[in-house]
C-alpha cells in the first residue's frame, strides 16, 4: 500500500436481505483527493458511504483507512466524519454547541474547544451566528454549519452526502468553489456522494461512476466525460447521440462505420476487424451546425431542424438527418441577433471531427 493512499476498499459487498446494494467494489482514494461517487438513486453509493462511516457492516470485503482495517471499529471511533444530506444539525443546540459537540467527545479542554470552534466558524464565514439555533439559519448557512461540525475534528477523511443537493442553483455554484478552496486549505481527503453529474464534475479530482452496486468507471472528470468506457457512462454523464452499427470495409485511409444508411468515418487510431458491432457516441456540443446554403462543399450529414430549445447562452437543436436518425446538437449563441441563428425547419449540414467520436464496443 502506498503512503499517499487514504482509503482502500477491497472487494466490498453489502447485501440487504435479498437485494445486493454494493457488489464487489474495489477502490483506492489518495490523500488529499476529492473523490466523487456518482450514480443514480439506488446505485449503492449511499450504502458505500455508510459503510465507510461505519453505519453499515459490509457483507464481504475490507475497508482500510490510513492502512487500518475498519472492520471492528464503530462509527464513533473512526477517523472519519460524515456530512449528512439533511445536515442533521442538532435542533436543540446553538451553532456553537453543534460545532463543539464533536470536540467535547474527545475530552478537549474548554479553552481549546472554544478556540477551535471559533477558528472553524471563521473558516466557513459564520463568525456572527454562533449563538443562533439551526432553524434560524438559511439553507446555505446550515450547510456551512454542517461542514464546520464535520471538519472541526480534523478527520482523515470527510464523507459528504449530496453536499450541495439542498441549495439553490446560484448558491451551489458559489458553495462548490468554497468547498474546494476549503479542502485545499485543510488538505483533508473528501469522498463525495452525488447523483448530480455537474456537482461531481466541478468538485472532483476523480469520479467513480456507479451502477447497480458496481463501480463501472473510475477517472478524472475529463476522462469520464470525453472517454466514457461504456454506453451507460456515456449516457449517464451529459447528453449524447448514439449511433449503432458495425465496421464496414473501406479502402481509403481509415475505417468506416455503417450505421443504418449513414457511413461514418472513424478516428484513425481505431483498429478493429470488419464487421465488429459497435456504438458511436457523439456529444451534442461537438457537432457543427451550418445552414445548407452556407456550405458549398458536399461534406457532412444533411438534415432538417425539427425543434429549437433556446436557453439564452446556448440553444439545443433537434435535427433529423435525411435518413431519419434524430440528433441533438448544442450551439453556443455567440451572436445577439436572432436572424443569425438557425431556426426551425431550416435545412442544415452537420459536421464533426472523427476524433470527437467515442467508440464503444460493450
Amino acid at each position: 500500500m502506498s503512503l499517499s493512499e487514504c482509503v482502500k476498499i477491497e472487494s466490498l459487498s453489502k447485501h440487504f436481505a435479498e437485494t445486493v446494494a454494493v457488489s464487489d467494489v474495489s477502490l483506492s482514494v489518495g490523500r488529499g483527493e476529492i473523490f466523487c461517487l456518482l450514480g443514480g438513486s439506488g446505485c449503492g453509493k449511499t450504502t458505500l458511504l455508510r459503510m465507510l462511516a461505519g453505519f453499515e457492516r459490509p457483507t464481504a470485503g475490507r475497508i482500510l483507512i490510513d492502512g487500518m482495517d475498519m472492520a471492528d471499529v464503530p462509527p464513533n471511533r473512526r477517523p472519519v466524519n460524515l456530512m449528512f444530506q439533511s445536515y442533521a444539525l442538532f435542533p436543540h443546540m446553538s451553532v456553537f454547541q453543534n460545532v463543539a459537540f464533536g470536540l467535547e467527545q474527545e475530552r478537549v479542554s474548554r479553552t481549546e474547544i472554544d478556540r477551535r470552534v471559533r477558528e472553524m466558524l471563521d473558516a466557513v464565514k459564520l463568525e456572527g451566528l454562533a449563538g443562533r439555533k439551526p432553524q434560524q439559519l438559511s439553507g446555505g448557512q446550515r450547510q456551512r454549519v454542517a461542514l464546520a461540525r464535520a471538519l472541526v475534528k480534523r478527520p482523515k477523511l470527510l464523507l459528504l452526502d449530496e453536499p450541495l443537493g439542498a441549495l439553490d442553483k446560484k448558491l451551489r455554484e458559489h458553495t462548490q468553489f468554497e468547498l474546494v478552496a476549503l479542502q485545499r486549505q485543510l488538505g483533508i481527503t473528501f469522498v463525495v456522494v452525488t447523483h448530480d453529474q455537474q456537482e461531481a464534475m466541478s468538485l472532483a479530482t476523480r469520479i467513480g461512476v456507479m451502477n447497480q452496486g458496481r463501480i463501472v468507471q473510475v477517472g478524472t472528470p475529463d476522462e469520464i466525460y470525453e472517454s466514457p468506457a461504456t454506453r451507460f457512462v456515456a449516457d449517464f454523464i451529459g447528453s449524447v447521440n448514439i449511433f449503432e452499427g458495425h465496421i464496414g470495409n473501406s479502402g481509403e485511409g481509415g475505417l468506416i462505420a455503417h450505421c443504418g444508411a449513414l457511413q461514418i468515418p472513424l478516428p484513425s487510431r481505431v483498429a478493429m476487424p470488419d464487421g465488429t458491432r459497435l456504438a458511436l457516441a457523439l456529444r451534442p456540443e461537438k457537432i457543427r451546425l451550418q445552414r445548407q446554403s452556407d456550405t458549398g462543399a458536399q461534406v457532412g450529414q444533411r438534415g432538417t431542424v425539427e425543434e429549437v430549445g433556446y436557453l439564452g447562452e446556448s440553444s439545443h437543436y433537434r435535427v433529423r438527418l435525411d435518413d431519419g436518425t434524430p440528433l441533438r446538437v448544442d450551439v453556443v449563441n455567440h451572436r445577439r441577433d436572432a436572424s443569425q441563428r438557425i431556426q426551425r425547419a431550416e435545412r442544415v449540414t452537420l459536421t464533426w471531427s472523427a476524433d470527437d467520436l467515442i467508440v464503444l464496443t460493450d
Partner: protein, 283 residues
C-alpha cells in the same frame, strides 16, 4: 354581496352557535359546581342568598384531616405512578421500535395497547389476585396500600405512555443520532444528549397523562388499596354514599383549579420546548 357570501356567513354563524352550545354542554355543570361551592347553605341544591357567597366549605375542608390525608396520598401516588410509567413506557416504546427486526413486533405492539381497552374492573381484580398470591408466596408486597396502588396504576399508565412515546419516536430523525455517533459520541452519550432532550415533550405529556389517569382513578384503587390507604377519589366516593355534603363542591373546585394549573403548565412547557426544537424547515 354574493349569495355565496351570505351563505357562508350564515354557515359561520351556525357553526359558531353550535360551538357555544357544545362548550356550554361541557362546562355548565362545572360552572354550576364552582358557583355552588360558595353557597353557605348545608343543602347542596338550595342557594342561601342571605349568607352567600361564603368560603365556609373551603374552611371546613381545610380542617378535615381525613380528606387532607387522602389528597396527599393521591398526589404521592399520582407522581410516583407517572414517573414509574414514563420510565417503563419509554423503555417499552424503545424496545418495540428499535429492537432490530422482531417478527412478533405487531403482536407485542397490540399487547402493550391492551390495557387501554381492558375494563378497569378486570385490571383491578386481576392485580388484586396477583398481589394476594405474591404475598402468600413471597411475602411481598406485604399488605395492600400505597405501594400496590402505585404498581397497579403504573401498569395501566405505562401503556398510555408507551403509545405516546412510540408515536413521537417513530417520527424521530435518526440521522441526528447517527451524526452524534459519527462525531465521536458513545451510544450512551447520544441517548442523554440527543435522543432524550428531543424526546422531552413526549415524555412530559406522557407524565402528565399518567398523572391524570392515576389522580382520578377509583375503580382500580378500590381493588388494590387495602383498608388503610384511601385516595382522594375513593374518599369522595365513600362520602357520597352517606349523602352529598357541600364540602365536595369546594373540593371539586380546588381539584379543577389544580388540574387546570397542571395542564396549563404542561402545555406551556411543551409548546415552548416544541418551538425550540422544531425541525428546521427545508429551503
Amino acid at each position: 354581496m354574493s349569495r355565496r357570501g351570505y351563505g357562508s356567513l350564515a354557515a359561520g354563524r351556525f357553526s359558531r352557535f353550535m360551538l357555544v352550545l357544545g362548550f356550554l354542554f361541557l362546562y355548565l355543570p362545572i360552572i354550576s359546581l364552582i358557583i355552588f361551592s360558595f353557597n353557605y347553605s348545608r343543602l347542596v341544591t338550595v342557594w342561601d342568598s342571605a349568607n352567600s357567597p361564603s368560603l365556609r366549605w373551603y374552611q371546613e375542608l381545610l380542617n378535615n384531616e381525613a380528606l387532607l390525608g387522602a389528597a396527599w396520598l393521591s398526589v404521592q401516588v399520582a407522581a410516583l405512578t407517572a414517573t414509574l410509567a414514563v420510565v417503563l413506557g419509554t423503555l417499552a416504546a424503545f424496545a418495540l421500535l428499535r429492537a432490530g427486526p422482531l417478527r412478533s413486533r405487531a403482536l407485542l405492539s397490540a399487547m402493550i395497547g391492551a390495557p387501554l381497552v381492558m375494563p378497569e374492573i378486570i385490571t383491578g381484580l386481576s392485580l388484586l389476585l396477583l398481589f394476594v398470591t405474591l404475598e402468600q408466596w413471597l411475602g411481598w408486597p406485604a399488605g395492600r396500600g400505597m405501594l400496590t396502588i402505585v404498581i397497579a396504576h403504573a401498569t395501566l399508565a405505562m401503556a398510555y405512555v408507551a403509545v405516546v412515546v412510540q408515536s413521537r419516536l417513530a417520527s424521530f430523525d435518526r440521522s441526528l443520532e447517527e451524526a452524534a455517533l459519527d462525531l465521536g459520541a458513545t451510544p450512551t452519550t447520544v441517548f442523554w444528549r440527543i435522543t432524550l432532550p428531543l424526546m422531552w415533550p413526549a415524555l412530559l405529556s406522557g407524565w402528565l397523562l399518567a398523572f391524570t389517569l392515576s389522580w382520578d382513578d377509583v375503580v382500580i384503587a378500590q381493588f388494590v388499596a387495602g383498608p388503610n390507604a384511601s385516595t382522594l377519589p375513593m374518599w369522595v366516593f365513600s362520602k357520597l354514599r352517606l349523602g352529598v355534603s357541600p364540602e365536595i363542591n369546594a373540593l371539586a373546585t380546588l381539584v379543577i383549579l389544580f388540574v387546570a394549573l397542571v395542564l396549563g403548565c404542561g402545555t406551556w412547557l411543551s409548546r415552548r420546548r416544541e418551538r425550540q426544537v422544531q425541525r428546521p424547515v427545508s429551503t
